[in-house]
């Protein structure tokens, strides 16, 4: 099953061979040099690899590149380029939301999808959006505070 597939990554067109059935995570890291989405388990169990596909958070470790025809992939590298992403990055820095930071890329992506869809999420909505992410450093509390803070900043900006 050889052929080519075309999609975009952070707005840039990409073509990739379907042969080998490469997982998106490895494609991003090794072929496109985008290293922020991270390998944690390769089993859709930790959330470290999560990216957005057409705006939805998806496991890059479990998504085959071959299935991406026409899709728009957004990786953590693109977050600094839009207002929601910027608000999140600033809020995470202000709250020191993270210790080692390994889990953060995926968490930021999920938080970005959440705030883009519901700018004023309830605490339960935030928790639900993050529940597939693991953080072993125990930075969870600060991460929740940071997402709340980003939502508040965005609300003030549009008020």
């Amino acid at each position: 099953m050889s052929g080519m597939v075309s999609f975009t990554v952070n707005g840039t067109p990409v073509t990739a061979p379907t042969e080998g059935d490469e997982a998106l995570l490895f494609h991003l890291r090794n072929r496109l040099g985008l290293t922020a989405a991270r390998f944690g388990c390769g089993q859709e169990q930790c959330g470290a690899c999560i990216v957005q596909i057409d705006g939805q958070p998806r496991y890059a470790c479990g998504t085959s590149v071959a299935a991406l025809e026409g899709c728009a992939v957004t990786t953590p590298e693109a977050l600094s380029g839009d207002p929601v992403g910027q608000a999140l990055i600033q809020a995470f820095a202000a709250e020191t939301a993270g210790q080692c930071g390994y889990c953060l890329a995926g968490i930021l992506i999920s938080a970005h999808a959440l705030l883009s869809a519901s700018p004023q999420p309830s605490q339960d909505q935030i928790i639900a959006a993050l529940d597939r992410h693991l953080c072993r450093c125990g930075a969870n509390g600060a991460i929740l505070r940071a997402i709340r803070r980003a939502a508040d900043t965005l609300a003030e900006a549009t008020a």
Binding site: G20, E22, A23, F26, H27, R29, N30, G33, T35, A36, R38, F39, G40, C41, G42, Q43, Q45, C46, A48, P76, E77, L79, S80, I89, F92, A93, A94, T96, G98, Q99, C100, G101, Y102, C103, L104, A105, L108, I127, A128, L130, D131, H133, L134, C135, R136, C137, G138, A139, N140, G141, A142, I143, L144
Partner: protein, 701 residues
């Protein structure tokens, strides 16, 4: 200059006396600091930069914390045991203070001025407040960088501190989160990927590799086989990853010739000895508490890079101890230590001796077989959870009795534990899994505990902080453990404090006393009393509840290592279908804080990790071995299980800083255990406190 009587120098300064081993002004406008403590995700690089900037009167932005490198950095041994800021910070502080004084002296010599008339601001030298045209970098060449740091130059007094004690932001965090910066993200030109196929059990013999099958299914990969060490290499990491998952289809292993058996079981050690009580009191407690092995569970699996080029081996690793690791790698591969350079790169959060060192040797072995090419080797999730060193399984039995005045009259605690200290080089053994695969005779033949002076391992916090007459404490190492155990955050303190604090609650119940009052009755250490009372006050102790009502508070307190930070915890739990920790209140005395926000995040992180260990984690061995694990079979705390946490510090600026990163592990476990016991009206003594354990205990009652 201010000559004080020479205080005892910190150990790191005794080992690395030269000023130039700590900092350098080689780049104009920049100060490179080169301490030997590594970033483990705890923010130490920021805390050390704050200290240097403070003493040199520089803004934080001028300080560059250099990657720790055996060719360039001070040799400070391991970064472990919460002592990084205590030891490394104290050393760097004295070095920076001396550098500042020497620079002012050098300026005075050039200007023909009195040193006392000179000050500095952002690196420029001022005379009576006026510019002199000199700066640190112009003067750097005048200094003898080999001069020993004597400790004679007094650092700034506490009252003059401007940066230390503030919550400087972590400059490294967000770039890492949105770009790269972990060892996993390093790429070198012409890099070759590698995976190790691990022995299914220690000392298993590699019987067969079906290379033909592999070549058909994964053309492009190649095999490295040396003894029982087996690795695959390839240019395409995804192909390698896929092949690794299929290892069972092309490898066959034989059981070890003999079951795992180290040769020497060390005798029981008396940490504190007392005569057995004479008159048998009528109210007594005998209780045994335990935990299973615990996985480190870093979110990023271990990773290393290595390159063998022109007779020199360079290894990039997220090890906690690059100098000891260099020695073991050199010995294992038959190289001179000078021919091995080990460079630290940041890994995923590190909570002790995990697979980092193993991965470094793995990569080094592969690099020797593929000369010239940089090798990048990464572990699988399963290997990370199941094949790295794990935290030691332990049990502690406490026998105690009350006298007629409801005071503890006797207290005997005996601890049995797998080893907590099997780091590379300890006891003269490699203690690396691939060293055993290359040569089974390199396995450790005896085990020992960390000495008490280092805080002990199995014995850590086994001595209760209370005034207990006849306190008798004994520790026995279980040398039979077939599982590779080593240092995990807080070592024995997690279970020991859990046991002591559970027993204190059980004794309080025998005495019909409130657990807080019962503790205070036995507690003369003023700083310990202060944190305990503070935590109780924050929580509104004892809460509105009654025994066995389904929602309760519990408390736990300890001074980490009996010589570091004090921490008291109150937990509120609810128990119905399952056990849920709803709230945690923490009161901490860690002396003066270098970076309050950093300290808080370390303590709260430790508290959540302890909550996870205590309520969810434990490895059940299958046929004496760790089964393959993933995040489904080894679950850890999730966002939906998060309690509300409130932390308060008790700060007396006159008290020097004390490591706090591990202080929460024991007290939080104890607070949860005690809260669960009250809520349930029955006590679960064996960790983890899972729903299954709860049901079992209730059935047995």
């Amino acid at each position: 200059m201010n000559a004080a009587p020479a205080p005892a120098l910190p150990k790191s300064l005794q080992d690395n006396p030269a000023l130039g081993q700590w900092l350098s002004l080689a780049t104009p406008g920049r100060v490179a600091i080169t301490p030997g403590k590594v970033e483990l995700g705890q923010g130490i690089a920021t805390a050390l930069a704050q200290i240097a900037a403070e003493e040199l009167d520089l803004p934080l932005s001028r300080i560059d914390a250099q990657p720790v490198d055996t060719d360039l950095s001070a040799n400070e041994g391991l970064t472990a045991g919460s002592q990084s800021v205590e030891i490394s910070g104290a050393s760097l502080r004295l070095a920076a203070a001396q550098a500042r004084a020497a620079l002012l002296d050098a300026a005075a010599a050039r200007l023909g001025a009195d040193t006392a008339s000179l000050t500095c601001d952002d690196g420029t030298i001022l005379r009576e407040g006026a510019a002199t045209g000199l700066d640190f970098w112009a003067l750097a060449a005048d200094l003898d960088w080999q001069q020993p740091v004597t400790g004679q130059i007094e650092p700034k007094p506490v009252a003059a501190l401007r940066l230390v004690g503030t919550s400087a932001p972590r400059a490294d965090l967000m770039p890492k989160a949105t770009q790269g910066g972990f060892i996993h993200d390093l790429t070198l030109p012409d890099m070759l990927h590698a995976r190790v196929i691990r022995q299914p059990v220690r000392l298993a013999r590699l019987a067969e590799v079906d290379q033909a099958w592999l070549a058909r299914r994964h053309p492009g990969l190649s095999v490295i086989r040396k003894g029982d060490f087996l690795a695959l290499t390839g240019d395409d990491e995804y192909q390698l990853h896929s092949a690794h998952l299929e290892a069972e289809f092309f490898t066959r292993w034989d059981d070890p010739a003999q079951p795992w058996h180290p040769t020497a079981t060390p005798p029981e050690t008396a940490i504190m000895a007392a005569e057995p009580p004479v008159n048998a009191a009528n109210r007594r407690l005998t209780a045994r508490y335990s935990r299973q092995s615990i996985a480190h569970g870093s979110i990023g699996p271990s990773c290393a890079l290595a390159q063998w080029l022109d007779g020199r081996l360079t290894v990039w690793t997220h090890s906690q101890g690059i100098f000891p690791l260099r020695a073991v790698i050199a010995r294992t591969l038959g190289l001179a230590p000078a021919d091995v350079r080990v460079i630290h790169a940041d890994g995923s959060g590190c909570y002790g001796h995990n697979g980092a060192d193993d991965a470094a040797l793995d990569a080094a072995i592969v690099a020797m077989e593929r000369p010239g090419r940089p090798i990048r080797l990464q572990w699988s999730r399963e290997d990370e959870l199941s094949r790295g060193p794990v935290g030691a399984a332990m049990s502690a039995t406490i026998e105690a009795a009350l006298d007629g005045d409801d005071r503890v009259a006797s207290w005997r605690m005996s601890v049995t534990s797998a080893p907590h200290a099997q780091r590379p080089g300890f006891g003269g053994f490699a203690n690396l899994t691939s060293a055993e695969a290359l040569d089974p005779s390199s396995r450790p033949l005896q085990v020992e505990d960390l000495p008490q002076a280092a805080g002990g391992g199995a014995s850590r916090n086994a001595v209760a902080i209370y005034d207990l007459p006849g306190q008798d404490v004994r520790v026995r190492l279980d040398a039979e453990s077939p599982v590779r155990t080593s240092s995990l955050r807080a070592l024995g303190a997690h279970l020991n404090v859990y046991a002591i604090e559970s027993a204190m609650d059980e004794l309080a119940a025998l005495a019909g006393a409130d657990p807080l009052r019962f503790r205070l009755r036995h507690l003369s250490d003023p700083r310990c009393r202060a944190v305990l009372e503070q935590a109780a006050q924050m929580a509104g102790w004892p809460g509105p509840d009654g025994e066995g009502e389904g929602r309760s508070m519990g408390l736990g307190v300890a001074r980490y290592k009996n010589k570091s930070a004090w921490l008291a915890a109150v937990a509120q739990v609810s128990v119905d279908e399952s056990i849920r920790v709803e709230r945690l209140w923490l009161a901490v005395d860690a002396g003066r804080l270098i970076n309050p926000e950093g300290a808080r995040s370390q303590i709260e992180g430790g508290a959540l990790q302890s909550l996870s260990w205590t309520t969810k984690e434990g490895i059940a061995l299958v046929d004496g071995r760790i089964p393959p694990l993933d995040w489904d079979s080894y679950p850890i705390l999730r966002f939906s299980e998060l309690p509300q946490i409130e932390t308060r510090f008790i700060i007396d600026p006159a008290h020097p800083p004390l490591g706090a990163g591990e202080a929460a592990q024991g007290p939080v476990a104890a607070a949860i255990g005690n809260a669960v016991a009250r809520a349930l009206g029955a006590r679960l003594r064996d960790l983890p406190l899972t729903r299954e354990r709860m049901m079992q205990t209730l059935l047995e009652e």
